[in-house]
Symmetry: D2
Subunit: 454 residues, 4 copies
Amino acid sequence: MKKVQLNPVGWMSQLSQVEVAKLEDTTNSALYDMFRNCCLAVLNSGVDEDNYEILFAPYDDFDVKLVRRERGVKIELINPPEVAFVDGKLVRGVHEHLFAVLRDLLYMGNKYAFVHKSAPLDGINISDMVFDMLRHAQALEGNDNLNTIVCWGGHSIKQHEYKYTKEVGYQMGLRKLNICTGCGPGAMKGPMKGAAIGHAKQRYKEGRYIGISEPSIIAAEPPNAIVNELVIMPDIEKRLEAFVRIAHGIIIFPGGVGTAEELLYLLGILMNEKNAQQPFPVILTGPAGSEAYFAAIDDFVAATLGKKAQSKYQIIIDNPTEVARSMRAGLDKVEEYRRAMGDAFSYNWSLKIDEAFQHPFVPTHESMGALALHRDQPVADLAVVLRKAFSGIVAGNVKAEGIRQIKQHGPFKLTGEAELMERIDNMLQSFVAQQRMKLPGSEYEPCYTIRQGD
Amino acid sequence: MKKVQLNPVGWMSQLSQVEVAKLEDTTNSALYDMFRNCCLAVLNSGVDEDNYEILFAPYDDFDVKLVRRERGVKIELINPPEVAFVDGKLVRGVHEHLFAVLRDLLYMGNKYAFVHKSAPLDGINISDMVFDMLRHAQALEGNDNLNTIVCWGGHSIKQHEYKYTKEVGYQMGLRKLNICTGCGPGAMKGPMKGAAIGHAKQRYKEGRYIGISEPSIIAAEPPNAIVNELVIMPDIEKRLEAFVRIAHGIIIFPGGVGTAEELLYLLGILMNEKNAQQPFPVILTGPAGSEAYFAAIDDFVAATLGKKAQSKYQIIIDNPTEVARSMRAGLDKVEEYRRAMGDAFSYNWSLKIDEAFQHPFVPTHESMGALALHRDQPVADLAVVLRKAFSGIVAGNVKAEGIRQIKQHGPFKLTGEAELMERIDNMLQSFVAQQRMKLPGSEYEPCYTIRQGD
Amino acid sequence: MKKVQLNPVGWMSQLSQVEVAKLEDTTNSALYDMFRNCCLAVLNSGVDEDNYEILFAPYDDFDVKLVRRERGVKIELINPPEVAFVDGKLVRGVHEHLFAVLRDLLYMGNKYAFVHKSAPLDGINISDMVFDMLRHAQALEGNDNLNTIVCWGGHSIKQHEYKYTKEVGYQMGLRKLNICTGCGPGAMKGPMKGAAIGHAKQRYKEGRYIGISEPSIIAAEPPNAIVNELVIMPDIEKRLEAFVRIAHGIIIFPGGVGTAEELLYLLGILMNEKNAQQPFPVILTGPAGSEAYFAAIDDFVAATLGKKAQSKYQIIIDNPTEVARSMRAGLDKVEEYRRAMGDAFSYNWSLKIDEAFQHPFVPTHESMGALALHRDQPVADLAVVLRKAFSGIVAGNVKAEGIRQIKQHGPFKLTGEAELMERIDNMLQSFVAQQRMKLPGSEYEPCYTIRQGD
Amino acid sequence: MKKVQLNPVGWMSQLSQVEVAKLEDTTNSALYDMFRNCCLAVLNSGVDEDNYEILFAPYDDFDVKLVRRERGVKIELINPPEVAFVDGKLVRGVHEHLFAVLRDLLYMGNKYAFVHKSAPLDGINISDMVFDMLRHAQALEGNDNLNTIVCWGGHSIKQHEYKYTKEVGYQMGLRKLNICTGCGPGAMKGPMKGAAIGHAKQRYKEGRYIGISEPSIIAAEPPNAIVNELVIMPDIEKRLEAFVRIAHGIIIFPGGVGTAEELLYLLGILMNEKNAQQPFPVILTGPAGSEAYFAAIDDFVAATLGKKAQSKYQIIIDNPTEVARSMRAGLDKVEEYRRAMGDAFSYNWSLKIDEAFQHPFVPTHESMGALALHRDQPVADLAVVLRKAFSGIVAGNVKAEGIRQIKQHGPFKLTGEAELMERIDNMLQSFVAQQRMKLPGSEYEPCYTIRQGD
């Protein structure tokens, strides 16, 4: 049995004895399994595999323990994957990521658990908690240069698309923009890789490659090799809020249903009247050949959320330089606005996020079946509902809990207005056809059925 | 009316909106007056005056406000003392100190207020709170080189004694030791000043000059010009705990009753059986001519706490080099011990402090009169009682609340065992005679009377 | 006409007025054309093209001037290539490289020109000059961690070979080794790219990617995008000396005739009796499929320089981890030896280099024809001769002056001992067959003929 | 016999073997004695003694050697003074100063010796050499913030004057100005000490305390404890040039004949027509009670160099804040001018210094006697002559060679125009009366006689 003990780093290196005792108490909690799994995912960092069962299979005998010392807490790894070690020593980046997992899952989990249970957080408190987690992750300290670009897009994209994300990243890196993504491969890795080269050419030493993940997906999308800051938000809603509040601009590459969820979330927020004045650069972009993809998305938005939603983004095809230039220009307006409002540069406090977007949606057969999928409601409400529908499908595709449910009860059943359902169906079918649901090589088995209501 | 707004620094520059709202709420609390006064004291930093009424007199129209911005909180000064400004700009060190006051008094005050009231903290939680406050003050981060020497001694000392404290500081600075004191003039300033020169000669750039104060005394002993880290603990008990847990060694210079309180507190703790193995270098030192002073102290300890207490310190007269060398040698043992125990280098968790030393003693005529001043009890208990007696006298001398009580009800009345009372009386008389009670120039009016019991 | 003025950086930012005046004087010298061309090459950094005529063709109207200011010297670019600019601003890395060109070509060129002409430098003075140039390039400052690995190999290699060089670089990066190469694409770029990822994962911030070039080849092999330190040595002999003196270990990937030149140079030196005790890790490595290539090289060495030469390197096939581990192990011995000898960590003074290897060999039809290509001489002498033969062929392939001569007078004619000539011919033929002579896509026209003597 | 070997630092840590060999050769040169003495002076850093004979007396058995290693050069101290060591280890600052002595005396001495002898340097080459020495001392790198204030004044000043220099230094430190002086005690130490406190209060970490000395005076005025950069110029003329070219402003405190020399040198230069446009803040300042002193100086200037010379400085009495504020204001004009001229911020190239001020004046009985001390010549020439006269007296007072001559041949004899001689005599007499010639406690024996010519 191989054992490795790790000294704490970052915030975890300065814990009080009461805090350490509380951490130890979590060892028997439900959180702990999640902690173990996230650690295992992080240790597999850089391995390309989005099926967590295959990923975890060889490591049945892996375990992780907290070791209490007078001076604080250590992590002990038992039978960890060899891939994370160099000549017997854990790679430093992985070491840091493990303590990020400890920090976000157990330490912050502890901090908010009590409040959570007795009385669910309301909107302002959720935003506060997101802030607090990013602050503890020291993700805000370097975030006041208005240069953090969140990149969304599929983890399973084609080679020429991946190359394109690298080129966009390179052009952004040349302009000293930093990259924040969801942590995994594909469109979440390409921009970081490109930016790293751009940063190097500009001798820019403060390059940040932030990965914001969540426990239920980190196994499917472990942090890629470039991520130098890892944050794990408790659920997809807080993760999305972290993205939009830390971002100074957002780029959306081709992707699957997760990317669609992200776009709908973003549009739903930007369409809020209270955000009408807020400049927020959003660019949809892909290589030559992606025109049809974005046209389909754009059509779907037009047909569901309408023209106003369309005005919130621009589409640029096959022009990395133009994407980066356009983003830089957009950032100037962001700076102007934040100065005028007295808002923080590092965290977008003034962005209004409706509570409907903040409260966790737990996809079950029941909750998915109950979604009000029709256009006979305000577009803001429709955006919320659509976001949830796509969120549920992501869960059914790659999140452990979702997969378990699908295995047990069969696909989720979505029902609603005929035309809307057809549009949804078409878009999802096209994602399947384009192999955007899973990493290439695996056959996609849909986790949903779509039925047009009356 | 002159107004100056200050941007937040350090921990205060990253507050959530809920935290800012809570800070604002304190504006009407009892804490707020204290906050204003501490700010005023910090703004008078470097001015030699230990009578807070004289110090504050010219600044009746001074006020301080918290200004809420989307991005956080600003401090607004109204009619601040000119002395803190250079060409219209606040001195950076003072700027930082003001936000240290905000952090420790209002932000941390808030955090612990609720717990405090509903259920007073027990021992482990007090140690945790002390840790938490030092952590937020970022005082622990640089504290793991085992080179923080706490220096105690009078704020009112003679010129040749002051010069001696500088020489000891210089020798410590040459050995890359950092200095932590109680913030004010005299023996609290000299070692810092000397160390700064020693550090410069050794090209040591990380020189730390930590001042740990408390709200009720900071007006009488505002941070001297060298202090580059300021922490304000809520009361003397937590301040003393901060001193002994952050210290890697302690030097005691000639001083008055406050110094005696500190020594008794320290000896009371070191005599605890659970600390028997703990190496803790304590050196009493002064220039030629101070022999009698230390002999008197040593006698008093012998007569009250006994031989074992005497073994906890060494006395070195007129030999700065020897003091520094001896301290360095002691630190080697500290390192050995902490490694063996797995204790933190930055915070002495394993030092056992009995709760009797942790709970606040509020000196009133009643509580002072009720002190069990006799030797017919375990020395540990006697140390507690003596510490409280001296603590009360310090309050009567320089703390606003104490002075108010004395003005209203006359001197505190101490009663007890005849021989013990005589010894106490002798020691206090000698402090008076040596002008160690107040800064030279002011006449000392005793705030206590001593009556021998039967 | 587009003009861009650049402020000096590095050593060039602190010139005296006399030095500036001397620089100005060079504007009319023969050096100046070379300076202009090197600048143009650097501005094309990252462009994949090894034919300097094609590379330079579009930039006939490009020029570069030195502008004298009271405070020093500026570079003025006239009609520079767009590729080096981002939104109108020169990429920082290219900016630095341009001043490296100015420093090495004109400033250092000036410094040594006088000495050079009146009396050619002898051995110790050549080593001193190489040292002085690396010192001015600030390449020695960070070089005392014994972790600089020089990588040699072809600029024109196959895709799977290139991928392999990246993997070896990655494994070295994970072990905090830095990379030094000849600056161009292929095996000179791959290890840097891989190491950059490895460094990032280990949070190693001091990653060095040193390119050492020479004026006559920089156009064919401009610095790739990763190079963050550029040094331009005056000729191939000083460049090779810079490589072996700055290196703590050397890795040789598959390559063409240039790589063969480098290997022969290195072996010739290591076989010197005075270097017998000197540990110097040399690893020849390539991916699966490269066995035959290295076997051919190894055979050639055996047949020419003999067993002892073979003992100076090890061959590792298709095992990047083993390469990196083996190198790390070798470095421990290097450290031991340098400590024992009191030699510098940053520059290998104690390595004995025979003058025969130091004096410039100028390839002409005459000098190439006169090479004593037979084995009836000491192996050390044979190594010198073979090195020169290959050096001449490199010149004929990619160096402007060499190409000009071949155009004018036809191929160089090599004559010598029959068996040796056959071996040479076979090896060169295999390089041609494997397309190692030029970047793929261009047809290779041999610049030499081989005739077996009697 | 105690021996200590020191590893090289700064520029001296990267020497080529040829350079090391040349250094070794100096061991037998005339320079070497000077080197030994400067080392001894530096080792006595902080000791207050201006009589080099008394200072050196206890160290007859002290010696210093250069030890050659493959990797460079070490300094070996034999029987060094204990005062420079802490627990057996040389104080880091002294260590650095020793290598500054090696650099400036032997390394740079070597570099310029040859040129010097064959053909004395002309003006532009002298300025270049001064630049080169400051560059090698890395004194120019941090000098482009336009905040280096040169402070001149006596090494032997009264206590209240010393306190005043500290206060001026403090006010300058609060404004982030750096200090450059001649290295010794008194007015050369006070401003540094004060500035260090001011820098600390402003959390200014880049505080520079530059000492520029010369071999013949460093024994009498060894670097004080604050000096963190030491440069030793070969003679007083190059030292003065270093002062005025590195300075962004100059403050003159009360002093003796050396200070008068400095003032005359400065005025002579500033009166040059070519410097008419050059803003150069010069402030003469002292505490209350110094009015008469400055009035005398001012009178002397008026009577000798005239009104125009007077317009080049302002006199401020007893107002440290005003001095610092006024200096800051002056620096704004300096910035404006340097930008307009394209001159370097770190070195005042555009200041015209007439060769008459650059060539060394060697005071002997003959050269002193031959000085044309009359006002029947252009004021520029008179300034040159007066500067030389005072320079000679300084030599006779504190420089070894000067003292030796006086001992042998009696006082220097100055002859000239009656009124001028009387004015000189009066001023010198007042310096003697005010004990500005030597450190207090020693009786001053004039090294000159003044005779009025016909």
